[in-house]
Every structure is written in C-alpha cells, then in structure tokens.
C-alpha cells in the first residue's frame, strides 16, 4: 500500500456563458485565469473574439450586458476574482 500523493488541484475561476454567447463560444462553461473580472473577461475575449465583440466596448462592458460574480451584478470590472468564483455572462436580454 503506497501513500497517495496529494496533488494540488488546479482550480481556476469558472466562466459560465448564456443565451447566444454559447453558440459563439461553442460551449456553456470555461475555466479562465484572471485576478479581476476585467482580466477574466479580457482573456475570454482574447480566446474567443466573437464573444469579445458582443461583450466588450473598448475597455468597458457593452451596454446591457449582464455580468455577475457569484450571482451579484458587477459594474466595477476591477472587482477581484479568486479561484472558486463563478463569473456569469449574459448578452443583452430581457423578458416578462
């Protein structure tokens, strides 16, 4: 019986994509490195330019894009992000 080697889990923040963003990304969920919401979203835009075009306008969020950090709406892109955080991004949408 050998002692099991404990591997440090490589946890990164998770980005969840919704509505039309899914088809542009080809997926619903990605792990994305970054210490702030801005860093995470910029990295996402770099990896998936089609998403970047919808979500970012210069270096700000495009109007009516909804970004939440662990369920809380984000307006300050410089909010810090840690490994277990979930960043959710919705393109401009509405309903009743």
């Amino acid at each position: 019986m050998c002692a099991s080697k404990r591997k440090k889990a490589n946890i990164m923040p998770v980005v969840k994509l919704y509505a039309s963003l899914r088809k542009f990304a080809g997926t619903k969920e990605l792990s994305m490195a970054g210490g702030t919401v801005r860093a995470v979203v910029s990295e996402l835009a770099r990896q998936k330019p089609a998403i970047g075009e919808i979500v970012l306008e210069k270096d700000r969020l495009a109007p009516h894009v909804i970004v939440t950090l662990n369920g809380h709406n984000i307006t300050d892109l410089d909010a810090p992000v840690v490994e277990q955080d979930v960043v959710a991004i919705f393109p401009p949408i509405a309903g009743g």
């Binding site: 509505a19 039309s20 009516h64 919705f90 401009p92 949408i93 509405a94 309903g95 009743g96």
Partner: protein, 594 residues
Amino acid sequence: MAGWSGNVLDIDLNSQTFTTYPLDREMARQFIGGRGLGARLLWDMVGPEVDPLSPANVLIFTNGPLTATGYQTSNRFSVTTKSPLTGTVLDANSGGFWGMQFKKAGYDVMIVRGRAEKPIWIEIKNDEITFHDASELWGLRVFALTEKLGQNNNRRNVLCIGPAGENLSRLASIMNDRERALARGGPGAVMGSKNLKAIVVEGKDRPKIEDPERFKFLLYETRKLLAASPLTSQALPEFGTVVLMNIMNNIGALATRNHQQTQFEGAEAISGEELTEKYLVRNASCWACPIGCTRISKTGKVEGEGPEFETTWALGAQCGIDDLPAIIEANALCNDLGMDTISVGSTIACAMELSEKGYLDSDLRFGRADQLASVIEAMAYRKDIGADLADGSLRLATKYGHPELSMTAKGMEMPAYDPRGLQGQGLLYATSNRGGCHMRGNMIGLEVLGLPKLIDRFQVQGKSSFVILNQNSSAAIDSLVICKFTNMGVADEYFARVLSAVTGIQYATGEMIKVGERVWNLERLYNNREGFTSKDDTLPPRLLTEAPGDGPSQGWVSHLEPMLKEYYRTRGWDQNGVPTKQKLTELGLVNLLN
C-alpha cells in the same frame, strides 16, 4: 373622434339585448382606455355588495385609442371586472389579434352585464350583434371551440372560455386567438358564471388618426429603436421570455419549491437556451409586432404557443420539476382548458408542500412531472383533489390549516421573482392593486437587467420612488393599450407623442404618466371601498422572516416595512395607505368619493 372609435357597446345577457352609446369624452381624456377606462367604469358599476360570480358583476372589455392604428404592438386589450380570486379590482391584458378586430368593429368598450339563462355565444360584426345558443358548444375545450367558431387571425377572432371557466374555477382565464390569455385573477370564472361561452368579432373600420404625418414619423423612429435594441431585435425573438430562467437563477432570485429556496438546481434544464435548442419550432408575433417573442414549441405530444418564462417557472422550478417537455405539455393543457399557468403552477406547488408536510392527504410531491397533467385536468373539472386546488393556493392552504404556505399577495399567486433577491420587487407585489403580480410595474428592468440603468437590488432606502414610477408608467401603457416589451426599446416619451398624434389631444410625457398615477389611485380607492387596508399590503411570512440559507441572496429577507412606509408617503397617502384628499384633488378623483 380620432384614435377612439367613440362607441360603447352595452350588452344585457338576461334579455339578450344590447345598446350602443357614445363614449364619454372627458372620461376618455382622463383615463385614456384599456385598464384606465375599465377601472373608471367598474367604480361606477360594481360595489362591495356584489359577489364576483353573481350576475351583478360585469365584464368590461376595453381597447385604447392606439389599438388597431398599426403602431407597433397596437393589438392589446383589457378586460376589467371584480376578481373572484382576490376580491380586488382586476384588469387582465392580452395580445394576439382579437383586440385589434374589436376596435375595427367600431367599439372602445363592451360592457357585459347579467347572466344568460342558458349558455350563449355572441357574434359581433360592427353594428350587427347576434346572440347564439351555445348548448352544443358548452364543454368544448378552447382549441376545438376556437377552430369551430371560425378563427382567422386577421379577419374573424374568437374569445372564449374552456371547461375551467365553465366550472367556475377561480384560476380560469379567458382565452383569445386560441392561445393568448386574459389570464390572472379568474376572469374566466366570471364569464362562466354568466353562461357566456364565447365572443366572436369581425370588423371593418380602422381608427382615424388625427396627425398622420407625425404618426408616420413616430412609427419610423419606433421601428429604428426596436431594431437597434438588442433586447427587442435579438434576445426576445431568439430565446423568448424563458431566457430569464438562467438569469434569475444565477442571481439567487428564482423562487423554488413553493418559495422554499431561491435557486433551482434544475434551472438549466428548463432554460430558454434548452427550449431553443431542443423544442423550438419558430417564433411568432401578435398583430403589428416586429419583436416576435412568442415561442412555438413542439414535443412528442403537442405543438403550440409557449411556454413563457412565468409558465415554465410555475410548472417547473416552483414545483421542483426539471422536465421541460412535461412543462410544455402542461402549458398546452392549461391553454386548452383555459387556466392561468402562474396560479395553477404555484397552487400545485403549495399542494405539494402541504402534502409533503402531511397537512394534505395526497400523493403530490415536488419534482413529480408525471403528476402535472392529471392534477391540472382535475382542477379544471373540480374532480377529486382538483376541487381543493381549483380556487387557488390561499383557499387550499387555509382549508388545510396553513394559510402561510400560500405564496400569494392579496390572494393572487406571486410570479417567479423572489423578493428576497429583489427588494423593490417585494414592495411591488405587496402594493399591486390586483394582487401578487409583476406586470403592474416590473422591477427586474432596474434591479437585474440594467434597463435603463442598473440599481442595487438589495438597497431598501429610496426604492419606493422607482416602484411608484414603474407602477404609474405601466398603468399608463396598459391604458393606451401597448405591449410593455415595446417599452424596452422605446421610452415613454414616444408613447406620449404617439398618443397625441393619434388623438389630437396633446399629452406631455409627464401628463401621460399622470394618467397612470390617476388609474393607480382609483384602483386603490376601489380596493379600499371593498375593505382592503394597509394590512393587506403584505407578503407571506416566509418572505419576511425566512432568509435563504445559501446562494447570492443568502441571509436576505424582504424588508417590506420601511419600504412600505416610504411608499405611502411618496404616493401622497396617509400612514394607513389611504390616498389623501389633497392627492385625490390633484388627480381629479375627489368627486368620486361623494
């Protein structure tokens, strides 16, 4: 008269006769049409002594001056009555094509009084009004009946009740154009109590527009605005209203299992994304609407309109159900039977909780998608356990000793948005004149979507002025009558200008919204007269005292009390929530109290 057709059709079911007379112009100017005009007329006609299911109650169908002008979404119409579910003033609002046709038939208002001795249906072809025997039609479900009476979207439109209305279920809706609904508060039961099975209209005349040049310009600008807004031009057509499922779940404001939680682990499975990917056939729209939010969905068993977000929530998360095809089929069943999906779903959820806790002897359990169809049928026919559920969750929960487990405000089941995640929304439900309703001033624009801008959903101080503005604006729009989704791309100032261009009467934006304030206060007076007090401006104890244990809304309850105090003051009401004489004078309502 421009805009309005200028005519009231007054029907007496007892004698099967009718009269027509001119619409009171001053009343029209003050209340415009739709919900506003309906409220004003109901005030005169139906007082506290009237049982909603008695012949003395009335059904008032109303258009607005914009209806059938061709302005975007100028297809909507209202029905106003005293609600058999809540006992409050009730207006229900629907889209499709019937309202447009009714206006073309030459009427702004149709009042239906009394009760027919035997089931009848009414046919309206401009000034030709015919009463037909409906004994062969009684018992028919909505889809078959609509087809049988010759539904043609653009030319001949059917409005009717299904078995639920016939059986006086207080959750019964009035359906039009097959799958559009005047849903909430039980108007279908009122129609059923009058032995009125259907009203079919054909019309010939488009309304007169006072300033066609200006109207054309505003139509053009509205087209540009709706096309430029990603909400109305992309998101709603592509995903429909169900797109909200993941959004509301993500922020911890999706009521789940009879409001026991604020997040649903099955949300993804019943989301707009899932619907579009697996079950959507195409989108569709009402008359003169470029948005096209309607879903046409298909499962192995059904194909038809819907489901909307609220429906998917009520029969889904609220019941702990994550089976989307079952929900789609249950929606079709509710439409065919003529029932309000929100109240149906939330009442079933209440029954599920009562059963799980042993207060109600039934096998209903959260998550049991297989039970939906049979319990909905039972409700429409008042059979077995359906008899207990047919009149809503408050009567059900009260009967079994636990009224606090009914997730209602003033007796109407609340929709999906959990107030513990949205402070403003809680204030809205508690103060809404027809009960727990989101369409009388929805706060999710401001508190979730950032429309026009994002405000803090947990902020309490100052929330009341946003709620009040939304309520007043919504009341104005419900009186025009225009679809609120247009409002998501087009600001109120455009509606005021369209109203002015069509009618020739100049309404500044602030004046149009003041009409909404007038309507709101009148509805409040009506409810006060019925015996409602500030004690009724409240929410179930669960929302005031039980905070979610996890999720983004963890630890939050609805802080209703301070918001409500501020609300009364801001509305110009006294501390008991009664409009002051000063406020009523300002709104031109003070003479109603004499």
